[in-house]
């Protein structure tokens, strides 16, 4: 209608509405009866009405002065049906989509739902899913919406390839990434599903890794994820340009604040000219400069590092400028998204408090600390600055996205030492949202079974003190393989409290109460008697025939010097074991230990699993005797140093020493120190150290005795009886095996292990003769000679001995080479050793290997 003199709308009629009330339609319109026919107003009302999505069609008719609104309502959704969905059930899909039965149907909404469903499948790692919406007309202007879904396989990441990396192996680079390659046995890990924003985060990780290793020119040329033809998995190809290693050039500090003298600050820089470039060193320098300036009252500053790259000499000159920052204070720190984690667990990680001067670097450090907690998705942490209640006030909004902080893993391994190894552990890092750690772990192996529950509060009394408690149960079983004729189990609890004294120094105090029970291995007793059986749980005896408890007891036991039962007799009445054996007698029985101790540590190693630089030093002392039956003082010291002069070649020098001193009593057997593989490679378990040499030889009987298999004659070399002093030294050189091995993740090392164990507390005197003298004597006996090695007349005489041999500090040593390989079944390690020096009776072992995998 053309523009006439503005007539007035006398009445507004609504036609065609069935479900939507007339009043509702009028309410959405801006035009009212009595207004003029203003075209703009009409358009406005038309737009508002249509935007409600309630109407499939809408018309404004003007009949004379009456405005007729003709509507055709959008259909109502009757039912929503999903077809073809197997992995995601209807419940999960219904929850995801917005439209519901009985809500209004529009094409746009359904299209949005299709994307929503595809997005859900993508988040579950199924990028190959296809969704087809179908609309079925029903009576009374209702429609059924059918989503036909083809889910397609779960898109895993089957392979991650790197091109252009010459210096670091594919294996090293894969460790840096969050996305992991999927392996058939990796049942629990969710790291192997393809997720685009994880790939983005990975690229950032890669860049940081190289920047911290000195490759300032590092560039990711491309990161392409290809879908395998059968759409079952993705292959991710990273092409990188590592560039050259850079070192720091001239480093200068400038200050734009009048009375801040830059030279003073220069001294505290963590960046030295000539050192290998590292971004971390830059950040650490920013931190020290910020703290230093803050301490002198200049809180409102920003430190701006400006690099100047010199391509030819491959050096980067750095200039740190101290700038004036606006005088703004943080008025309030708001924390959002912590549905499980308590507010204080996040707030205590902040380096600035409410009311303090705002400093952008402190905010960045606080963000880093939150990431290190591991309670939140690293990409999900956002720290936002908002204007406060005044121009010089600011609010900091922290939004976090929590992730599961529990982890469960179990592993199976096999090694030449402990044959099979099975371990299981379940840990929660953020117990009840309080930032506390609770864990249960269990280890079973042929030689030892142990279980441990541990709890740690990292901020005890709101201070930076980590206090914790453990409850443990440990059982070592007897088996000939491990040369320990007795079984022992110990259960108890320990309390610990420790803190970081500086960037690298730590101190921890601990108290342990242990209840030990060392007894003859049940198998020995049963075999001997055969009539009654010792039941370890009740501590009483069962008649083998009737399987009833019997009060017949074992009376006197005759043990050979290796605690092998020779004779046993049973008498009624309660008699405990009457064992007079000098070596084992004193160790059997049950006793409790109450031990207090401390550990002082320094650790600057750069990587926990495979360190290539840094030093570690630990010194600990434990005093058993705060009550309890056992009194001793045990101290140990440990050095570990790593150097990597040229990339790939790492030298490790480490030394360890410990000594234990009984106080007013002899050190019991299972408290004594034992030494052997794997600390001292090239030797069997507990194979090194003083041992018992006993037996009698009547001259003329042993012929051509070879000391190694002494068993033939009546002379026996017992197991190691442990010692009170011990040292081990190790020099190891890791060397690269060229690109092929690098590709397969194999690396090798050559090593020299040296060590010794001596000073046993056993009530037996030392053998008065040396190894060679015994051999010499035996040979003379075999040849029927007149006088023995010691000049005495040995005709017809018997050679009787029961003494400790091999009890001296002279080093045992072995050299060898070892290979470790990241096999598809987990880390595999093999060591080949050649023995250099050993003592009389030490059992060597040339090949040791272990393979272990964790799921």
């Amino acid at each position: 209608p053309q523009q006439q003199q503005m007539p007035v709308i006398t009445e507004i009629q609504v036609q065609g509405n069935v479900r939507v009330e007339g009043a509702t339609i009028l309410q959405y319109m801006t035009v009212r009866a009595g207004d003029a026919f203003d075209q703009a107003e009409l358009n406005n009302s038309f737009k508002r009405l249509f935007s409600t999505g309630l109407f499939a069609d809408l018309k404004f008719d003007i009949q004379g002065t009456v405005l007729v609104v003709v509507v055709q309502e959008s259909p109502i959704i009757n039912r929503i049906i999903f077809e073809g969905n197997k992995k995601l059930d209807n419940e999960a899909l219904t929850e995801e989509i917005r439209i519901r039965p009985r809500s209004v149907f529009t094409r746009a909404k359904v299209k949005a739902e299709v994307n929503r469903i595809l997005e859900l499948y993508r988040s579950k790692g199924r990028f190959a899913a296809i969704v087809e919406p179908k609309v079925v007309q029903q009576s009374q202007n209702r429609v059924d919406v059918v989503f036909e879904i083809q889910e397609g396989p779960k898109t895993k990441v089957s392979k991650i390839n790197f091109l252009g990396n010459k210096i670091f192996s594919d294996g090293d680079l894969r460790d840096v990434l969050v996305t992991k390659e999927s392996r058939w046995w990796k049942i629990f890990s969710s790291g192997d599903t393809y997720d685009p924003d994880k790939i983005l985060y990975d690229q950032q990780q890669l860049r940081n890794f190289y920047l911290n290793e000195g490759y300032a020119d590092f560039r990711i040329i491309s990161a392409v994820a290809e879908l395998v033809p059968d759409r079952s998995s993705f292959i991710i190809n990273y092409t990188v340009d590592e560039g050259e290693i850079y070192r720091f050039g001239k480093v200068t500090v400038e200050s734009q604040i009048r009375d801040v003298n830059a030279d003073l600050f220069k001294v505290f820089l963590r960046v030295r000219e000539g050192e290998v470039y590292s971004q971390e060193a830059i950040e650490n320098s920013q931190e020290t400069l910020t703290d230093l300036a803050g301490a002198q009252g200049y809180a409102f500053i920003d430190i701006l590092p400006k690099p100047k790259r010199n391509k030819e000499e491959r050096t980067i000159e750095y200039n740190f400028t101290i700038l004036e920052a606006p005088r703004v204070y943080v008025e309030r720190i708001n924390i959002h998204g912590n549905v499980r984690t308590l507010d204080k667990v996040i707030r205590r990680e902040f380096r600035l408090q409410e009311g303090d001067a705002f400093n952008s670097f402190n905010i960045k450090r606080s963000e880093d600390r939150l990431k290190r907690l591991g309670f939140f998705r690293p990409e999900g942490i956002e720290v936002e600055r908002k204007q406060g209640s005044a121009i010089d006030r600011m609010e900091v909004d922290v939004r976090v996205e929590e992730q599961s902080t529990g982890d469960l893993n179990f592993g199976i391994g096999f090694s030449s030492i402990e044959n099979f190894i099975f371990n299981f552990s379940i840990n929660e890092k953020n117990f009840m949202g309080k930032g506390q750690r609770l864990g249960f772990s269990m280890n079973l192996s042929g030689y030892q079974q142990s279980a441990n529950v541990s709890f740690t509060e990292p901020y005890f009394l709101d201070r930076n003190i980590a206090a914790g408690a453990d409850i443990f149960y440990r059982r070592t079983t007897n088996s000939d393989r491990y040369a320990s004729p007795y079984e022992s189990d110990s259960k108890g609890f320990s309390l610990r409290m420790g803190a970081a004294l500086g960037e690298f120094w730590t101190y921890q105090g601990n108290y342990t109460f242990r209840f030990d029970n060392v007894r003859l291995s049940t198998s020995q007793i049963d075999s001997c008697l055969g009539l009654i059986r010792y039941d370890i749980t009740t501590g009483r005896y069962i008649d083998v025939d009737t399987d009833q408890l019997t009060d017949e007891q074992i009376g006197y036991l005759e043990l050979d010097r290796d605690m092998r039962l020779e004779a046993c007799s049973q008498i009624n009445g309660s008699v405990n074991f009457n064992i007079t054996d000098p070596v084992y007698g004193s160790s059997l029985g049950t006793y409790n230990q109450s031990i207090i101790g401390y550990t002082l540590g320094f650790d600057s190693r750069n990587n926990y699993l495979r360190p290539t630089a840094g030093r570690a030093f630990y010194f600990s002392q434990n005093y058993a005797g705060l009550g309890g039956d056992v009194k001793y003082l045990k101290s140990s010291v440990n050095f570990d140093n790593y150097w990597t002069p040229i990339n790939g070649w790492t030298l490790r020098l480490s030394a360890q020493g410990s000594w234990i001193k009984g106080i007013g009593q002899r050190v019991r057997l299972n408290d004594s120190l034992f030494l052997g593989g794997p600390q001292l490679r090239g030797f069997d378990v507990n194979a090194v150290g003083p041992r018992r040499f006993y037996g009698t030889i009547v001259s003329g009987t042993a012929s051509g005795v070879n000391l190694d298999d002494l068993g033939a004659g009546k002379l026996n070399l017992g197991n190691s009886v442990g010692g009170t002093k011990q040292y081990v030294g190790r020099a190891e050189l890791f060397f690269p095996l060229g690109d092929a091995a690098l590709e397969m993740g194999i690396n090798a090392s050559a090593f020299l292990d040296v060590g010794s164990l001596w000073g046993t507390d056993v009530r037996l005197d030392q053998c008065a003769f040396g190894y060679s003298q015994v051999e010499n004597y035996l040979n003379r006996v075999a040849e029927g000679r007149q006088n023995g090695a010691f000049g005495e007349d040995i005709t017809g005489a018997a050679f009787e001995t029961d003494c400790i041999i091999g009890d001296n500090w002279k080093p045992r040593a072995a050299i060898g080479i070892g290979f470790s390989w990241q096999s598809p079944f987990g880390p595999f390690r093999i060591d080949l050793t050649k023995n250099l020096r050993r003592q009389f009776g030490d059992r060597t072992q040339t090949l040791q290997f272990n393979i272990g995998t964790s799921f």
Binding site: R102, H336, N338, R347, G355
Partner: protein, 249 residues
């Protein structure tokens, strides 16, 4: 029982029968059945007057069955179609309650507390004299009390970590923004403690004076009084005309 199976049994039924069935289930406390029945009313008879009532009843049933998201969806759908309907106030009320029931304890994110608070404020603004406005006002006070509790929790944390200035800012926030909350007496006492630690005696004394004047019987005043006596100070307003600042109690 899952919704789909219930759907089929209620084939075309007369609206009154279906509606009453829903109401019956609702009274008997079998809320999921009630919700299904009301959904069915709306589905089979979208144009009857009871369809609108059923939408609200379905929301109420989902709320009782703790299916808060379903309840909120049902309400949003209802309000979009019938903003002016007579049951709208009840719908706003149920929606506010859905947030209210998901309020986390003071140590954690108060997102739902804020949403509940805004929903109650909107209900009171839109329908000041509806029968729900009274309960909404009370619940609004509870949400404010809860937000005050959060401020106190953070304030106490700062105090334990000896960050007294940050603690002062938080406790000041309580007595300014949540004056009528149950935490005000404690906030005042904490101000006495924190100002003493900061060495601002006049502030400590005036906080104690206001605490004494307004909450004479409360244990918090006893704590403050004892603390000040121990530091040889007395609770009195030292600056400004505090009578004019008397609180509207």
């Amino acid at each position: 029982c899952s919704n789909s199976e219930v759907d089929d049994t209620y084939v075309a039924r007369d609206v009154n029968v279906l509606y009453n069935l829903g109401k019956e289930y609702y009274e008997k406390g079998r809320y999921m059945f009630a919700a299904a029945a009301f959904d069915e009313v709306e589905r089979q008879h979208p144009y009857s007057v009871w369809a609108r009532r059923a939408q609200v009843m379905a929301a109420a049933a989902y709320y009782q069955a703790k299916r808060y998201d379903d309840a909120i969806n049902a309400i949003d759908r209802f309000l979009q179609l019938h903003p002016g309907n007579s049951s709208a106030p009840y719908a706003y009320y149920i929606k506010a309650l859905c947030f209210y029931e998901q309020i986390a304890d003071v140590g954690r994110d108060q997102d739902y507390t804020m949403r509940a608070r805004n929903a109650f404020v909107e209900l009171i603004r839109r329908y000041p004299d509806s029968e729900y406005a009274y309960d909404a006002k009370q619940k609004l006070e509870l949400t404010d009390d809860h937000l005050a509790g959060k401020e106190m929790e953070v304030g106490r944390y700062y105090m334990r970590s000896k960050e007294y200035l940050s603690a002062a800012i938080r406790f000041r926030n309580v007595i300014e923004k949540y004056q009528k909350s149950s935490h005000t007496p404690e906030a005042l006492h904490r101000l006495v403690e924190v100002n003493l630690a900061l060495g601002i005696q006049p502030e400590a004394q005036s906080a104690a004076a206001v605490l004494g004047y307004n909450y004479n019987g409360s244990k918090w005043y006893r704590y403050s009084y004892a603390l000040l006596k121990n530091k040889k100070l007395s609770p009195e307003m030292s600056s400004g005309s505090w009578l004019s600042k008397l609180w509207p109690f």
